[in-house]
């Protein structure tokens, strides 16, 4: 089982949303990392077959997905970023509707719906209208519909948005169980959601693929660049202005412990840290300080792979 994204590009008028991306997705959980507007959703829509690439193609087991048509959609599950539903439908009605569209036998679908609702802890709202559910519950209905047909290829665009920490943990566990012998691609900018469950990651920026690899492989890219130190609380604004600070924790003695990204330590008491995926993400998509902004410009378009 293999999903191949082959030199795929998508152009909207003058803007290239996805620029010549090639990616070979094998069974396991894949994290698609990128900032807002990086092109994640466009790439996922093309993999889902609901958007046609300007150039390139997506192949499933060597066959273009357009050629497979119904055959591809039969083994496919998708949760888009914006989960649209019918406001007049209850959870049960909606899932029965999607189950029919997915070709689940009529007798089997109630059992499957119950099973999935238990997995996503929604059995209490079985007969409740989706419109009346909380954001997190709606998201879980979305996840349940994507899993209805037990898909071989599952694409989830920002699936954890709106989920509380407990729900996110349950979601991660559910996905880990599910992903065995299946291709799961999760797009997110919430790095911890994929850090521990994703086999591999693909990082995209401005429509281009910056890096692919396992968590261990990718974090090596920021090895020697993640530091921690303790600074006086009053010095925080100054450090923030010139460093990319990953985390900041107040200590009891009035000092502050910071974790930051930099090519070199900013003071003598800085110690090297073991890098995490989030450090890589922030290194590639810097949010703050001056040095990092300069780094971004300098490395723009560079391919790490």
């Amino acid at each position: 089982m293999e999903l191949l994204v082959d030199k795929v590009s998508k152009k909207f008028k003058d803007k290239k949303a996805v620029d010549n991306i090639s990616l070979e997705l094998t069974p396991g959980v894949w994290g698609l990392l990128g900032a807002n507007g990086a092109g994640k959703t466009t790439l996922m829509r093309m993999i889902a077959g609901i958007m046609r690439p300007t150039s390139g193609q997506v192949l499933y087991d060597g066959v273009p997905i357009q050629t497979l048509g119904e055959g591809y959609r039969e083994v496919f599950g998708f949760l888009p970023q914006e989960f649209g539903f019918y406001p007049e439908f209850t959870v049960k009605d909606y899932l029965a509707y999607v189950a029919a569209l997915k070709g689940l036998p009529e007798r089997e679908s109630p059992r499957r719906i119950h099973e999935l609702l238990e997995r996503v802890s929604l059995t209490d709202v079985y007969n409740k209208k989706i419109a009346r559910l909380s954001g997190g519950m709606k998201r879980r209905v979305g996840i349940a519909q994507a899993l209805l047909n037990d898909p071989e290829v599952l694409i989830l665009d920002e699936p954890t948005g709106g989920l509380d920490p407990g729900e996110r943990v349950r979601f991660r566990n559910l996905l880990s169980e599910f992903a065995h012998d299946r291709i799961v691609l999760i797009s997110t900018h919430i790095v911890p959601d994929v850090e521990y469950i994703a086999t591999c990651h693909a990082v995209i920026r401005d429509g281009r693929l910056l890096a692919t690899g396992t968590t261990d492989e990718l974090v090596k890219l920021v090895e020697g660049k993640v530091w921690s130190c303790i600074i006086p609380a009053r010095a925080v604004p100054e450090y923030e202005s010139r460093l990319q600070i990953v985390s900041l924790r107040n200590e009891n003695d009035g000092s502050v412990s910071i974790r930051y990204l930099a090519e070199h330590p900013c003071n003598n008491n800085s110690a090297l840290c073991v890098p995490r995926l989030e450090d890589l993400y922030l290194w590639m998509f810097p949010q703050g300080g001056g040095e990092n902004r300069k780094r971004t410009n300098r490395k723009s378009g560079r391919r790490y792979q």
């Binding site: 609901i50 958007m51 029965a96 979305g142």
Partner: protein, 415 residues
Amino acid sequence: MRILFLELKRVMKSKLTWILLALALLLSLLLAWLPTTYCYSNYTDEDGNEVNLTGLASIAHEKERQADAAGIVTPQRVREAVETYQACLSSYGVTESYDLPEGVYEREILPIAPLLHGVKEAFADPDTGMAPAIMEIDPEQIDDYYSVCEARITSLMAMEQPDSPGAQGKAIKMYRNVEKPFEVYPGMNSTVLDYQNIMGFLVLLFCVVIAAPVFSADYQSGADDILRCTRYGMVSLGMAKLFAALLISTAAFVICVAVHILAAGSLFGWECTRTSVQMMYSIVTLADMDIGGLQFLFAASGLLSVLASVSFTLFLSARCRTTVSSLASSLVFCIAPVVISMTAPGALGTWLCSILPASGTSIQASVLYAITDFQFLNLAGLSVWTPYAMIGACVIEIPLFAFLAVRSYCRHALN
């Protein structure tokens, strides 16, 4: 079938659908009853008191007064009616019935009035089209009444379609084929059919409002992204949505029109539906049918028009990205025949009104008015009576726009 059933269930779960369908049913009853409220008659009773009657009482009274006129409209009966009319007016020294003293019309002319329908029109001047007063008509000429009528359609078509001998020939041929003598059964008037037209138009609007969001609402909410990724989420779902909308529209229209016809027939009397259309509309109307047949034909063509409009609306819905745009554009096309019939006279207006999907039940430009009119569409020597063109256009448009709607849905957002 399962997807179709679920799609039907989905549409029927919407409160808006139920509100519109209930409103349509209510309006069907209301619009069947309303024409009775316009019926009015008055007479002087045996004690010399003036009695005013309205509604069903008025209808019953007129039916009773005109009972002798009911039946086959033979030239002999028309002649006798004209002679009675002329004798009555002469005895009072007037030339028009509205100059008669109070109570005389009700007593002497009203009982024969149904037989006088169309007499003036039949004897209209062939060159000017001006109708004479009944007093000016020579009763002896009425002995050959239906030949006079045939001569009238010849002169009328020469005036209406001077540049189209084909249309003239067809009209004359059609009129010759109309079953004669006519029949008349007093009690019903053309307002009943006008209100059937209004009812059809309103049901069409409601069906369009129900159909307009079918695809566009899914695009707008993003629900479509999930559905089209499913095994049957493309052609099968597109067709299920299409058939669900067409089925609901068909059921709504058939029920509403049946309720309207049943209610109107019950209120005015079923025998009235046996009246020849020529005895309610123009005496030279080309359609060979009675009022019941006209009601049925109008209902059938109205249904085709509703289905064509819904197919077209679904096509627009599959093309538009938002519910507002699909609804607005659909309503514009529903109202277009009304606007065109008022603003674009001549061949262009006739053509547009004949081919637009909503024309069949449009106010002022529907199949009903086309049947009682003498318009022909002329193209390259071919002349087609507009009701045929309207029905033919709908028959073509239903599968055409249905196909385009499903195709547009399947291709939506791909690029």
